[in-house]
Subunit: 533 residues, 2 copies
Amino acid sequence: MKWWGWGDPERRLELSEGAIAALRSEVGEAEPEQRASLESVAIPAPRPLPPAIAEAVGAGAVLDGHEHRVRRAAGRSYPDLVRLRAGRLADAPDAVVLPGNEGELARVLEICGREGIGVVPFGGGTSVVGGVEPLRGAFERLITLDLRRLQGVEVDQTSMTATMGPGLRGPEAEEMLAAQGFTLGHFPQSFEYATIGGFAAARSAGQASSGYGRFDELVTSLRLTSPVGTLSTLKTPHTAAGPSLRELALGSEGALGVITQITARVRRVPERRRYDAWMAADFTSGADIVRTLAQSQSLPDVIRVSDEAETRTSLGMSGTGAGKRALLGGYLRVRRRDHGSIVICGWEGEPEAVERRRSIGNRILRSGGAAALGSAPGRAWERGRYDGPYLRDELMDLGYLVETLETSHEWSELRHLYEEVRAAINAALASQGTHGLVTCHLSHAYPDGASLYFTFIAARRPGAELEQWRAAKSAASEAIVEAGGTITHHHGVGRDHVPYMRAEIGELGIDALRAVKERLDPAGIMNPGKLVP
Amino acid sequence: MKWWGWGDPERRLELSEGAIAALRSEVGEAEPEQRASLESVAIPAPRPLPPAIAEAVGAGAVLDGHEHRVRRAAGRSYPDLVRLRAGRLADAPDAVVLPGNEGELARVLEICGREGIGVVPFGGGTSVVGGVEPLRGAFERLITLDLRRLQGVEVDQTSMTATMGPGLRGPEAEEMLAAQGFTLGHFPQSFEYATIGGFAAARSAGQASSGYGRFDELVTSLRLTSPVGTLSTLKTPHTAAGPSLRELALGSEGALGVITQITARVRRVPERRRYDAWMAADFTSGADIVRTLAQSQSLPDVIRVSDEAETRTSLGMSGTGAGKRALLGGYLRVRRRDHGSIVICGWEGEPEAVERRRSIGNRILRSGGAAALGSAPGRAWERGRYDGPYLRDELMDLGYLVETLETSHEWSELRHLYEEVRAAINAALASQGTHGLVTCHLSHAYPDGASLYFTFIAARRPGAELEQWRAAKSAASEAIVEAGGTITHHHGVGRDHVPYMRAEIGELGIDALRAVKERLDPAGIMNPGKLVP
């Protein structure tokens, strides 16, 4: 991964001249950025750690070189990238420690608890909410605990479950499962770099979550190692033995301990995958179609509806030539619609089941007034499903702010939430003297509601990027809270959402989480400054 | 409800002469029981309560008459009924307090916390694991908090959710929902008396849980009032904002506070209901069929497979003449099978969807070697779905011990678990000098596993009923723990399963629960002696 951005440094998704022109006409000119060099990134000198840590994991598994530390000093949010590109990091971990197994990891946590050393668990480092930021809190010393050596996949073919190490990246896990004919079906945009442990710790939701379930729904049992011991849940499909401790570990974001083992349901690799695009009359009718699909148990495995602005942007600024042509081709056939909303439906599974389900879904789409755009733009969407963060790098190179945020609500409140958040972001960007492009799609649908995923773009304010970002992020977050939505449907809490946890779970909810944290992590070393205010 | 048993005192399900003869040939003669009269039940005199409680709820909402106290002194487990019938209760609450709203309830908890008065929350009183037993713990005074006045149903037709009070009984909630065209689809055997609050607090699973979801899966948000305040989760379909506090309140069994409001997903009342019976070659092949259905996302809404012993018993001792005739009629047509396993499949929903799903399911059943018994025995099962506890009263009148218990495990371990538990119960009953009939069915199926529900019957040991019961229950529980199953799939922990919580969640898991309890219930007044060791 690029140290200053996303993905393979050799891979670029250059925007076409036309796309850049369309962008400029939407949000104005921007001042291109200069990136700092890796060597020029200034971070504090590492503070020495007790030798017991290197003794626990082996000297080769404690890294304190400049690049190792810089690479674990930030996640992949917009403000993270602003700081990395500028070469201005507030801090970095004193060392990166890579335990080779659960026993070594437990020993490191025990030492850090005793010595008062902060610990930031680190999987793929893809957090977009500051989840891996090296905040020291009350501690002088801080390590990043890189989990990449905790790998391994064991499949129970009869029960169709896989027991996995937290350090496996998405593609690594899928490759090992595919060798036995299985898949998790979990494909978030961060799939190429994010890890199994991160999926669980941050309650990830993949693009096919409507069909396969969110990651927290796939997990049947887990082990969480805290500084005082290991919590382990039974490998059974369900239990009524009290409150769910599995659901306490899921979403704990490294603040209670480290998830060291995950057992999750797997499915057979789908024989058929059909991705179709449709054009709904507008965002409201697109959302109504998804509600009907969800409430009649007829959801596709992948569902998303772009609002009018995202639809227009996809058509005008698509990064992949083929996808754009495919979309435009379909669009032209239904161009009587001026303000359409693109709907993507993905169907996966056994051929017969796919065709049966798809035919029921298509009937509902047509009843809702959607027009078929064919499967070419659907396949184009599928090909570009991980492109978002690559495009962000291109846009940042051109001098643009690009950020995404997400929420969810019940169907009856969703339109209000949508309008309030959009208005709040627009107003905040205007207050910074910039004109924003705010787009949104609805995805992760449920019978009772859905998530909304916003993207906003504006010309950056050179030298005041973080202030500009903060204004928009705060305004959006406050609008979400005001409208009763959740502060996050699948990005997690990290550092950025901590101020909204009171609105989310109340003072007593925070007290309850604190009580658990104090018991499992009495010294408070686990991921300081995250999750709990 | 009968004070000494289950259901309407006017309703009896008398066993036929033939059924009694069949039973005697299985487990031998038993000595019929004499029941004590209500007046003769000896309970300690009520201890006086601070007047502040009556001031909080109104004098009419504090009941301390003999019958009120006896009726809240026990749940509906076999040992509960043994004690009630014998008129030998260890204790009873000092009073029954009925708060009229959440504010009154909060005030009562606050007073009890300050004064050191134990509180047992009480919905339908149907616990079969000692969940409402009036254990005083360290407290001299103890009240039962009867939630029946906390009613009310509010439906969000767009989001298809219903916000409900915890005191509603199953039929009351269904009637109010049906008036608007909706259903929860939650029908446990205790449906007629159990409450919405109890379903949530004890993680109930209904007979149609494979289709509609368990109750904990239906709940989208809730309020829990503890002695120090109220915890409330957002009404959104999902959040990734940290560990799930909803999943901490679900299953809390009154030990953390009282669930005072529940929002749950509802469905449209099904237009069509098709209940079919099939005969699988044996229990193993029946279980394989269910696994195939579950792993291909083709489960019926209701699924259960009786083992050979339960199948034989259903045919030989069916309590309802029509059901028996229907079953036997079907059976005779396939009587070439000596050791068959009855499979019940229930399909509910829109007619087209029901027929489509049913046809896919039937194909899998046939491929698995099952023979169709037609819909008459399926409908008979449906008519008799709440009969279990009525039959227990009849069997206890005749002098028999009747108990049920349940667990779950992954498919790869299910047969081993089944054999071990059955052997353990048989051996324990033999050690008591009695010959047991142990039957089992598989239900609540998942892609990764299923639950097993055991029923056992033996002639009681007059005067030593509890000792005999304890021997069988302990042996079964230890066998479950040994085989790695969960101590309960849907009955909950209550008092009876507390000793097995260490095996279930480990010492650190118990510590984590204790930490939460100490924060929400610092005086430890909530449901003493339950849930947490």
